[in-house]
Amino acid sequence: MDLITDINWKEHVVDRMDTGVFLVDRTIKVLFWNRFMVMHTGQPAESVEGRNLFELFPDFPRRWFERKVEGVFVLKNQAFSSWEQRPYLFKFAHNRPVTGGVESMYQDVSLMPVLDIAGKAIAVCVSIRDVTDAAIYATRMKETMETLEQEKNEQRILIKKLEEAQSQLLQSEKMAAIGQLAAGVAHEINNPIGFIKSNMTSLQKYTASLVQLLEAYIKIEDQLDQNSSEMQTIANTKDQIDFEYLVEDIGDLMTESMDGVNRVSKIVKDLKDFSHVDQGDWKYEDLHRCIDSTLNVAWNELKYKAEIKKQYGEVPQVFCMGSQLNQVFLNLLVNAAHAIENRGIITITTAQKGEKVLITVADTGSGMNQEQLRRVFEPFFTTKPVGKGTGLGMSLSYGIIDKHEGKIEVESQEGEGTTFNIWLPIEGPATRDALPA
């Protein structure tokens, strides 16, 4: 054990540790200052020991350190300070004078009570560990984690966008499928409806001629013997078949049937339009002129229902199929008028938004609920009474705007009205070079 007792602990062990070690008393007077402290502060032990720490280092966090030391004295318990919250206790040069990268040495500090034999705290021993390397590593790690977290968030947003895009794709797939079906059905119906229509026209003429002939016969009935059995038979038959009503009704029936056939063929035509919106010319059109001409066409439907407010902005000519867009405008305007119960306002606004033109048609009508809003572009979906609408107008419009690589959006508040926004690219679809001239 001689070896151990012979060791000069202070000078040869504590002094040379690669840890800063110093002792202070309760008044923060320095009692001991090891070589690490000398090297890093540039203050030799002789000029530090016996003096107040705050005198020597005026920048030292005084109140904090006093409270800490007091805690150690009172509780005879260790205290700590970590580089994460307080990067350093003394502003020492870091250990990288050549490789650099940090401003100053990061330090972990602990304060422990020095007790006398009676167990009374007489001093506080402060040790300072250089944790610069670990701190740099941890800081970089934290930064990397933050970057990762950020990237993860961006990915989450992207995935959400993808999901939205997919659901939109599904919607347009659905539209396309229904379009194809509609085209097939329309084609199948078109032929029979064609000959039914032409036969009906002939039948209408024929029945009119037959009635004419009958009327001629009726005129000569007076000349016959009214008591003859032939006359009796004629009178009986007339009674039986309710002749007068029949003659009156036959014309109505024919007219009604023709109306029905015409309605069917209009639906078929709309269906065909919906399925291949390809007729019409692609050229630069003045949208204001398109809207105005549509307003003229629809005037009869609109004039008793709504006041039209035009808020036209500065809008360049748009590369589009004017006749098709007219159909969209017509649809929106007529629908707006139908949504208005008594009298309301339809506002048409246009504006240029970057590479696009925004056309807004807003009404003060009855609006739509969530379910209706969701289905508004669905073919055959209609809020109108049976027989009043085909439910194809909006899906047709959707198809037309889609062809233009534009966007049609709808906002609605039940009881307050509906607003349709149409976005059209000024230069037409990106694939315009491939369009039929």
Partner: protein, 210 residues
């Protein structure tokens, strides 16, 4: 081997007594340090199982969003001595109150200063109590530097069920209250099974002495 730690009634009473005496001393020195009267609750001794740690923590601590600091303590007797972790849970980390308590001023609040205050206060509280208990058991303790588990995190996030390697641990819950500044927090001392086995022996030894 029975995985469950059990205490005899005598052992439990003895530990309660030890804790109560230690808390008296701790309250005394904390009051001297803070220059305010500190109320300590009677230590509640219990056991938590890793399996139900979340619900048990909930029952024990109550509040949902907390800030928490952990600190390891170990004995000069090594694995055979009193060792474990102290977790101090703050349910209300009002910066001004923390400043009032620590009694040092650092200007406007920022995250690092607030964290440092939490660490310092935790260190003082756990040091005062644990040294008191150790003294009764005639042991000497050392402490690791306190580290932050998190600020404003869900209570369940304090102990990650997935990472726990033990099945059961002993818990001693102590509540601190400073009426004057309406400050309060709770400390949970958690002792692993091996430390508890040793503690039982020590308690038996103390009981024989009486």
């Amino acid at each position: 081997m029975n995985p469950h730690i059990e205490f005899s009634e005598d052992q439990r009473d003895c530990l309660q007594e030890v804790c109560n005496i230690a808390m008296g001393q701790a309250g005394n020195s904390l009051a001297r340090l803070f220059e305010r009267f500190v109320t300590l609750s009677v230590p509640a001794i219990g056991f938590v199982s890793a399996e139900n740690v979340e619900t048990e923590l909930q029952e024990l601590m109550g509040s949902l969003m907390v800030s928490a600091v952990r600190q390891a303590f170990f004995s000069t007797h090594g694995k055979e001595g009193l060792h474990g972790e102290a977790i101090v849970v703050f349910s209300d980390t009002n910066f001004e109150k923390l400043v009032q308590l620590a009694d040092y001023h650092e200007g406007p609040s920022n995250a690092a200063i607030e964290q440092e205050l939490l660490l310092d206060i935790s260190n003082v509280l756990s040091g005062a109590c644990l040294n008191g208990i150790a003294e009764q058991l005639e042991e000497q303790l050392g402490f690791s530097a306190p580290s932050l588990i998190g600020t404003n995190i869900p209570l369940a996030g304090i102990l990650d069920h997935e990472q726990l390697t033990w099945e059961q641990a002993m818990s001693i819950k102590i509540g601190y209250r400073l009426e004057e500044i309406e400050f309060q927090c709770d400390m949970l001392l958690l002792l692993p099974k091996i430390a508890v086995e040793h503690l039982k022996n020590t308690l038996d030894f103390l009981l024989e002495d009486d």
